[in-house]
Every structure is written in structure tokens, then in C-alpha cells.
Symmetry: C2
């Protein structure tokens, strides 16, 4: 049970989009070139981010992607669900339905009143609540503090790409 790499790609790329001049979207080609993956691969994640309302897409010449919200309104949890979907971590496979007394049609097991399910859901909500408190704005700000050289280099590169369109 692992987070998808897509979450990692999305978080990194969203940081690139912070603090750019308004109405100057960045194309998927540039983003993909920077990340070192194919455009079609990265674009899939951006399509999901669009659907989740995290980024806005501008089609056509000089189109691309830009943040649809303020970075302080985009939480880690938003990104995680945008990429992995809303499905909860624990999905009851209804194994009890295959249990002896059930096979003999003695009982039914309804997952609504399932204790295991409710415990897992509650546990997940603790994870969720924490991830909701961490935003792209926070990430951007702290990356600037922790790895300033890398961040500067990265900003330089995207500003230049924006300039040469």
C-alpha cells in the first residue's frame, strides 16, 4: 500500500507554478522537459488537477497551466485526492459474506454498521486532517528556506521559458 508517484510529480510541479506572473500559463512541454518525463505522462496528472479545480488550463497557442487557486488554498490532501481519487484506504471486500454461516444464508453483513470499516475511516480522517493543514504555499515557502539554490535555479529556468514564448 503506497502513495502513487503521481502525487510526488504533482506536488513538485505545483510548486513551479507558484509566484509566476498572472495570465502566463506554462506549457506541459516545459514542465515535462524540466521533470525529465514525457509530456503525455505528465499531462495526465495535470488533467486530473484541472478536474479537481487545482489548476486552470489554457488551450491553444501559448496555452498551458496555471494555478486556479491561491497556493495557500491548495492542501496536500487536495493533491492526493486529485491524483489518487476519493476512494478510502480501507475498502471492505465483504469477506464475511463468504464465511460459513453466511454461505448457509443464516446472516447478512452490512458494511454500514461495520466496526472495522468505521475504525479505518476514522483513522484515515486523522491522516486527512493533517494533510489538509499543509498547503502548497507552505511547501513553496519552506523549500525556499531549505534548498534556496535549487529553488532559485528552478525559478530562473521557468521565468526564462516564459520569456521565450
Amino acid at each position: 500500500m503506497q502513495f502513487s508517484v503521481g502525487v510526488e510529480y504533482a506536488l513538485h510541479c505545483l510548486v513551479y507554478l507558484v509566484n509566476l506572473p498572472p495570465d502566463s500559463p506554462i506549457g506541459i512541454k516545459d514542465l515535462a522537459a524540466y521533470q525529465g518525463v514525457s509530456d503525455s505522462y505528465l499531462s495526465k496528472f495535470f488533467t486530473q488537477l484541472v478536474k479537481a479545480g487545482i489548476v486552470r488550463s489554457v488551450p491553444g497557442v501559448k496555452g498551458g497551466y496555471e494555478l486556479a487557486k491561491k497556493p495557500e488554498d491548495i492542501s496536500f490532501w487536495n493533491v492526493v485526492t486529485a491524483i489518487q481519487g476519493e476512494a478510502s484506504l480501507f475498502q471492505c471486500k465483504e469477506i464475511r459474506h463468504n464465511t460459513l454461516p453466511f454461505r448457509e444464508n443464516k446472516f447478512q453483513c452490512y458494511s454500514e454498521k461495520c466496526l472495522i470499516n468505521s475504525v479505518m475511516l476514522e483513522a484515515e480522517s486523522h491522516l486527512k486532517n493533517y494533510l489538509c493543514t499543509k498547503t502548497i504555499a507552505w511547501l513553496h515557502e519552506n523549500l525556499d528556506k531549505h534548498i534556496p539554490e535549487i529553488q532559485q535555479e528552478q525559478k530562473r529556468w521557468f521565468k526564462e521559458k516564459l520569456y521565450n514564448r
Copy 2:
């Protein structure tokens, strides 16, 4: 990203082992027959539960499995890690290493100081802490309250199997 079904099987089966007479292990055949799966399948999970110190195995004739600890000392988290392993939910795939300035050997990215990684770890610890508070004893007790008929039937069945060995 989903919990393994193994967790569901393990939690259900551990409840069956609560409140049985001492030194009377239940064989994997009975457990598997009750669950409606093959012994070899279920036994794999029990081997993992043994390695995690949750159950004790008794080989040979009239052998089987019994709880190795008091049910109030077995948490949901214990079971989850026994089955899925200790690996954390977020594993950095080091995607930044393939990023443009890194490909040009300008920088290195050490995951020890990675902010994303630390946020994910902290989030997971919230999930962990909650799952540590819920035990097999709690589950057993509350299942008895919520679905008493099913629990009675289940206890009847295992007691009978124990009797006929």
C-alpha cells in the same frame, strides 16, 4: 492505494481466537473452512502474524494457532504492519533526481531533508496513533454488542471444532 484484504482476514480471524480455553490452538483448516478460503492462503497471513508476535503456532498433531498476547495488547496497527509490512505510505521515488538541473549534475536531492517526505510521515503517524488505540479486545467486545447473533453462532462453531479434535 488500498489496504490489503489480508488485513481484513487477519482482523476477523483474530477475533475468533479471543476467549478460547488456554492451550487449545485452532488449526488453519478450521479457520480456512470457516472463512471459505484455502488453508494455504490463510496460513500465509498467520505466518506473518506469528513473525509479528501476535499469535503463537503449535506444530504437529492437534497443533494450530492461539493468541500470543492478551487481545487488549493487540492493536489494529500491529495487525496492519504484520500483514503489509513496516514500509511507510509515502516512498520518495527521487523524481527530483531526474529534473533538469540534477541531470546536469548541478545539485543533489537528499530525501532525509525532504519536506514532502516529512509531511507524509507525520500524516501517517496520525493514522498510526489512532489505529494503536483500537485493539482486538475492543473489536471483540463491540462486535458482541453490535452483531450478537453472528458472534454467538461463530463462537459455537469454533467451540465445537475444538471439542471434536
